[in-house]
């Protein structure tokens, strides 16, 4: 699968799960590896690509880290949107 396509699927999954459960990076990798039959490492790489450009982001709360869709505020702060 093309990286871009995989990333779309990741994003779709993240949107679906938004507000339902805090996802660890590992949860995302597991879910998508299952859904797409891609190797976990490939999913991880695609995910990292998204995080590096601010399409997704790491979050921290309650003592644990998770992956989330960034807020507008965050994107603005990072200069990714105006």
């Amino acid at each position: 699968m093309e990286t871009a396509e995989l990333q779309e699927k990741i994003f779709a999954y993240m949107e679906k799960m938004k507000g339902k459960k805090k996802l660890k990076e590992k949860d995302v990798i597991k879910a998508l590896a299952e859904e797409t039959t891609e190797a976990p490492d490939a999913v991880k790489k695609a995910l990292r690509g998204m995080i590096d450009v601010g399409r997704l982001m790491y979050s921290y709360g309650g003592g644990a880290s998770s992956v989330e869709i960034p807020s507008e505020e965050y994107l603005r702060e990072k200069g990714l949107i105006k």
Partner: protein
């Protein structure tokens, strides 16, 4: 002005750029050291080279101004080389012995405190407290200052039977190594947290909150989308607050600190030990916590008077028995001293032999 280009995953710079030539040359080939004074020592290499160290107290919270001043001195006397210790002191690494005197002189003039080497008290390991942490149940820096002012002689000159490691934890998360210190202060709550239910519903994950409680005191209330706390079971650890801040654990008038003793880290002579409860509670008395300071001094001096040379606090107590520790220090033994956590069983006395 344009920012320089960021780099990622480069890690820290390699240590070898920061070590003085005498270390580079004698790396891993030190032969012995000698403690010269309470705050100076010399390491001698197999080659015969020497490296003098001057250890200087630090409040750990350092302004850039002070760091620059320290750096200036390092440049004057140490070719710019210095280090920090694992207990947050500053160490001047003096390759040229003749620089020792002027360095010590300048330090003295500037009122830096030289000490912490040998069988003495060194800096108190501590963390953020009210200075920076949302979890803090006392202030760490202030308590440290108050205690160190009081036991100052044991940092600079006076000897003890062995090193005495002090620590302050500003909450039971214990970001220092309080759980294995000779004498330590740990801040504790004593009341069940109050719940702001509306906010809980908004900002907290109920399952995580429920799971956070070590004693299973928290039950979900799915109807109201919040939680309830079983008061009987809550031991005020504040873990729920960490995962769900609207469960407020802070009660300024009932919060305070406990004193624990007898821990150690090294494997010398006896195995590493956890610290055990000595005094269950003192109210927070900022700015100088006089009762806490007095209690620490009492334990310290009782140890100094009674321990054998090289015995750590915990080794001394284990030799004489805890019943004697309480007698000698005059500390009251209470129900709080008796363990009721997971491993309580192993702390109950299972022998007909004990001291009165």
């Amino acid at each position: 002005m344009a920012l320089p280009k960021r780099q990622t995953d480069i890690g820290p710079p390699k240590y070898d750029q920061f070590i003085p030539p005498v270390i580079k040359k004698n790396y891993g080939k030190w032969k012995y050291h000698e403690v010269l004074t309470g705050g100076t020592m010399v390491h001698v290499a197999e080659s015969g080279d020497t490296l003098h160290t001057v250890r200087v107290a630090s409040p750990r919270i350092l302004s850039t101004e002070t760091i620059r001043d320290i750096c200036d001195m390092a440049e004057r006397y140490c070719e710019g080389y210095l280090r920090f210790t694992t207990r947050n002191n500053v160490e001047f690494l003096v390759s040229d012995k003749s620089k020792m005197e002027p360095l010590l002189k300048e330090l003295k003039e500037k009122k830096y405190s030289v000490g912490g080497i040998g069988p003495r008290i060194s800096n108190i390991v501590h963390t953020q407290g009210w200075v920076h942490c949302h979890s803090a149940c006392t202030d760490a820096s202030g308590m440290v200052k108050a205690i160190m002012d009081d036991v100052y002689d044991y940092f600079t000159t006076k000897e003890l039977p062995n090193k005495v490691r002090l620590a302050v934890a500003c909450c039971v998360n214990m970001c220092g190594a309080v759980h294995c210190s000779d004498i330590a202060v740990v801040a504790v709550h004593r009341k069940v947290p109050t719940i702001n239910h509306e906010l809980v519903t908004k900002v907290c994950e109920i399952p995580t909150t429920v799971a956070s409680c070590p004693t299973s005191a928290i039950r979900p209330n799915p109807k109201e989308k919040t939680v309830t706390i079983n008061e009987e079971k809550c031991m005020y650890c504040g873990n729920c607050f960490t995962v769900c801040p609207p469960i407020d654990i802070h009660k300024p008038d009932e919060d305070g600190v406990a004193i624990v003793v007898g821990g150690k880290i090294g494997s010398l002579r006896t195995s590493p030990k956890f610290s055990k409860l000595a005094i269950p509670f003192f109210y927070n008395e900022p700015p100088r916590w006089p009762k806490v300071v007095a209690a620490v001094r009492n334990i310290l001096e009782t140890y100094a008077k009674n321990a054998k040379k090289h015995e750590r606090v915990g080794e001394w107590i284990e030799r004489i028995g805890w019943e004697s520790f309480f007698k000698l220090t005059g500390i009251e033994f209470t129900f709080q001293h008796i363990d009721d956590f997971t491993f309580a069983r192993d702390t109950f006395r299972t022998s007909a032999a004990f001291k009165y």
